[in-house]
Amino acid sequence: MLQYLAKRLLLTLPTLLAVSLLVFLMLHLVPGDPAIIFFGDQPVTPERLEQVRRQMGLHRPLLVQYLDFLGGAMRGDLGRSIHNNTPVLEEVTSRIGSSAQLALAAFVVAGGLGLSLGLVSALRRSTWVDAAAMLMALGGVSMPIFWLAAMLIFVFSIKLGWFPVTGFGGWNRLVLPAFALGFVSSATLARLVRSSVLEVLWQPYVTTARSKGLRETLVVRRHVLKNALIAVVTVMGLQLGTLLSGAVITETVFARPGVGKLMVDAISAKDFPLVQGAVLFVALVYIVVNLLVDLSYAYLDPRIRFE
């Protein structure tokens, strides 16, 4: 296991470097002079422009600039926001709490809904229960998350007044966004759980368990669900991608001060250091969580370790 861990960690390094390179290049891929972009729509004198060019180190070779950026990023220095002049790292870290809360809650919703919908439809295969559950899953895949969010706000906040419309803080501001985000992610999961449970249901060890007289609930819990879960764990990693990008939209709809909303606002405001910081952060989270998923998969299924 340790060897596997070391190997996986080592394999992550080039990915991290490549991501940082792409994020660094972003500013240089934008058509136009980075120094002018830096000023956005404000009028600026040529002297001031030259000064900023020097400050940003734009006169040096690109490679040196990249190494500088990388060194800064390692020390936690991601530059300053163009508009508020606050350190980017501070801006990003101050919003992690809100995003983490939403992601975690949505993950619980997605997992719970996806598992139960998938399991029920597999066990009641080819009945109306199965059809209804899978139709719901198909609806979830086809539904734009921002629309579901708006509909939830309309019904539960505006009409019924159960939850506040927007903002952050307290569990009652978390319910609607978590459900909107979780429901959309649960759809793919439900379909996967269904097919992996169906696969496991016909395995010889399940027949064995049944023929030795085990009750059906125990067969499902001990033998079917446990084995079906292995396949589910890997997909959770992929689902995290849906979750993260969904969070960007959900946070915007509910005006939650998270990293996703920060990114969208920064893109609209052309605040590039901030965009770079937020993108780097989200990509980093995605890489780390995928690493964790891989590790837990290797832990659950010993065959992986010896590949």
Partner: protein, 300 residues
């Protein structure tokens, strides 16, 4: 729900094909017509496309003409889906928006195919350094989950509808590249490719005439489902204010307009969303059916 019938479908299909030979595409159409979901999806989608094309004939209103006297009217016989804050008929805007949104999905996927297919073809056929470099690039692109890569591209190119299509297309291209590469790899070792080489075919001819046709089925399936994904993604970008801009009646932009009037005009948000869902759901149903009809192995 449909797995049972489909499982038997795929097992007896080859037998049927042996018993009475017919063209493979007719076989696909036959299997497609057996799937209820695909038929419903196909009908709804055709209706939507027709409605989009015939939009000016179906409504007495104009999508962009403002009429302050009629602002924020609730749904009625005159205005089936109500009117928006500038007095424009919401149903009319959705109808004209269908042109933009359906085209957006189609163009995005076309861009993804134009980028992904040649790269996957070259990568799988030649292998070696080019293959390794391209696959690293694909891995890197897939490190940015979902809409994030599209957001990065928009950040670089600037917010605008065409850039949104480009962004969605580029960020979807790695999937096509990978699938094509895998198909090429398995086709490359077939005897007919060897035979083509033995008869002296050039690499280009082998690639285009003998290997490329293998990738058509998976690309049709991926592309169909991809249009659904692209419509949602582009609508999301527009909703975030990074794609189509008002007054363009793109569906995501319509939802974004309705956002601030949710309290007083629920219809401004509800109906454009339902339009997106109808389109995406019907395309997904058709795509699922196509997948089962073209290649049962692709399921799951």
């Amino acid at each position: 729900m449909r797995t049972l019938t489909r499982a038997s479908d795929s097992s007896d299909a080859p037998v049927a094909a042996v018993a009475q030979p017919r063209s493979p595409w007719r076989e696909v159409v036959r299997r497609l017509r057996r799937s209820t979901g695909a038929v419903i999806g196909g009908i709804v989608l055709t209706a939507l496309v027709l409605a989009a094309v015939a939009a000016p004939l179906l409504t007495p209103y104009e999508p962009l003409v403002v009429s302050p006297a009629d602002r924020l009217l609730p749904p009625s016989l005159g205005h089936l889906f109500g009117t928006d804050v500038l007095g424009r008929d919401v149903a009319t805007r959705i109808l004209f928006g269908a042109r933009i949104s359906l085209l957006t999905g189609l163009i995005s996927v076309t861009i993804a195919i134009l980028i992904g297919v040649p790269l996957g073809l070259v990568s799988g056929f030649y292998g070696g350094l080019a293959d390794r470099l391209l696959m690293r690039l694909v891995d890197l692109m897939l490190t940015f989950p979902g809409i994030l890569l599209a957001l990065v591209i928009i950040a670089i190119l600037g917010p605008d509808l065409f850039n949104a299509m480009l962004a969605v297309g580029i960020s979807a291209s790695p999937t096509y590249g990978r699938v094509v590469r895998a198909t090429v790899l398995s086709a490359k070792s077939q005897t007919y490719v060897e035979a083509a080489r033995a008869t002296g075919c050039t690499n280009a001819r082998i690639m285009l005439r003998h290997i490329l046709p293998n990738t058509v089925a998976p690309i049709i399936v991926l592309g169909t489902l991809g249009v659904a994904g692209a419509i949602i993604a582009a609508a999301a970008l527009s909703y975030l204010g990074l794609g189509a801009r008002p007054p363009e009646p793109e569906w995501g932009a319509l939802l974004s307009e309705g956002r601030n009037y949710l309290r007083v005009a629920w219809w401004m948000t509800t109906f454009p969303g339902l339009a997106i869902m109808t389109a995406v759901l019907s395309i997904n149903l058709l795509g699922d059916g196509l997948r089962d009809a073209l290649d049962p192995r692709l399921r799951n």
